[in-house]
Symmetry: C2
Subunit: 360 residues, 2 copies
Amino acid sequence: MIYRNYPMVSKVVFGRGSFSQLSDIIAPKRLNVKAPFIYLVDDVFKGNLKLTSRISLAYDDELIFISANEEPKTSQVDALVEQIILKHKDKPSGIIGIGGGTVLDLAKAVAIMLTNTGESKDYQGWDLVKQPAIYHVGVPTISGTGSEVSRTTVLTGPEKKLGINSDYTPFDQVVLDPELTNGVPKNQWFYTGMDCFIHCVESLNGTYLNAFSQSYGEKAYDLCKEIFYDNSGTAEELQDKLMMASWHGGMSIAYSQVGVAHAMSYGLGYLLGVKHGIGNCIVFNHLEEFYPKDVVLFKKMVQLHDIEIPEGICANLEDYQFDIMIDVALSLEPLWENAIGENWKKTITRERLKALYQKM
Amino acid sequence: MIYRNYPMVSKVVFGRGSFSQLSDIIAPKRLNVKAPFIYLVDDVFKGNLKLTSRISLAYDDELIFISANEEPKTSQVDALVEQIILKHKDKPSGIIGIGGGTVLDLAKAVAIMLTNTGESKDYQGWDLVKQPAIYHVGVPTISGTGSEVSRTTVLTGPEKKLGINSDYTPFDQVVLDPELTNGVPKNQWFYTGMDCFIHCVESLNGTYLNAFSQSYGEKAYDLCKEIFYDNSGTAEELQDKLMMASWHGGMSIAYSQVGVAHAMSYGLGYLLGVKHGIGNCIVFNHLEEFYPKDVVLFKKMVQLHDIEIPEGICANLEDYQFDIMIDVALSLEPLWENAIGENWKKTITRERLKALYQKM
């Protein structure tokens, strides 16, 4: 058995208000005055001076607002890279992503594609990246995705929804400032938090489980329960805890794998553009047969917070569309192997997946 | 408030038998045939072919056995560095520490001192290291110290027992192979495991606590309880869990601080050469007034495993010797500030520490 050699985030700051340290932290990384820092910022912060006034642009530094309404695409990465190369004489000193999973994944992918030739779709897969990325920093503003700690950046390409998994993908620096998650809309808070919860469920119930993943997964699972079920603590404490849950949940799947919900959610995302967090919830809601105890707990949490999980989104789909989703889901072989075991193909049939999608 | 920017271990492998991957992992780091890998190996493995046969020495690579009977010293670091420089034409490609906290700390310190001028005692303190260390790898063979994940290397110098705390101290690579902890003598297993338990107690009860440290500390604390109190799981599962407890316990104090037991244990170590793990146990045994609930739990675990905690080691000391220990303990101001709060000097008097030492 060959074990993974997992690359960790190089440096991490944690604390309420720590975002104010960002400028000082990155200053020594400036290569020269023509090599700018490029900030990719979720456009929900447009006009939010509390955040933007703390980003100090010097020389040719640039702030680019990014809409996170859609899942990140390879075409979007390539366009951003082209825009940056055309505008600036030197390669950037660093890419700083400030936002949720979408913006963080874009920041990681842009940092990689600034030093690797060709198109980003060519790097979707495992260990295809050849050159170290540009210095890149992640600042999550919503908790749950685990993107801040992972070695992947999940992109929707022309042919597949798949991550750029590589040793060069993880951030060189992460700033965990739970204060930045103030004001996240309730539904989004819940859907993204459930991304973390589902990471833990899929890791802890998977065949790839080991003591490393288990210890991180159990902690993140317990934190999710404290936050979404027990609801114990002040608003600030719950924000702090959820940011740590996301971190530990990310580390848990780093050393194991996700499972059924993620595989099927990727299908929904690819075909219908359903965002990852809500997609996971839509799928998980119907996975009693795979994760009985945790689907019950999930439904209780949905009820407690009065969240609406969309239903019937597959009601009017045609057969060829189900086939597309099923193809995407089945292509994610490690996820099924983790969830079901080596012989997963015996029980995970196209018909079974179609029947599940039809319920959603 | 300025938050710490914590440097993490760059890469980590976890798994039973993962030690066999070491050669493949470090191979790409060889600078040239004259730049050897230097293995510092705990001398308990002398003649243990199960371990040494898996270390493949090529070119000028060298294996140096290290006695861990005493706490690591600055003089020992300087002697090792001199020995390596005199023997080899080029600077090493890497230093690989295989052992417990003593050997791991030596490996970190040697890697630093191969690129930084002067003596290692000049670097005891915080952020005094100027040059990046040589590539260094940590392979723990006993669990609990957290040295594998920390940014310090605690050394006894001519004037003080204090760590070389720096961003260059953490390992570039860690191999967590719980199988290597087979055969650790029971007392040592307990004392070193309690080092982890005490890290958690001191972190979780400290004024520096934050959600980052808390999440790691709670997980490591729970794992210690599972291992030493509930005793639940197979021998292999308990080894796996203890290795993760050590890792998480190390991360917990990374972002907070230790407390009373460590401060006083450093005094014992400096004056009497008491090893760190057992020293912590000797001290913690008498700290009911600071950590009431956890000292009770500690005593139960001592009893359950039929461990003898030495007593009376200070019985015949003279006043000037108590003064030395008290000086060392009181010099560790951040530990007291964490344990007691800003105004710790009001309650932590020389008399109080002397009375405590006299009980030990």
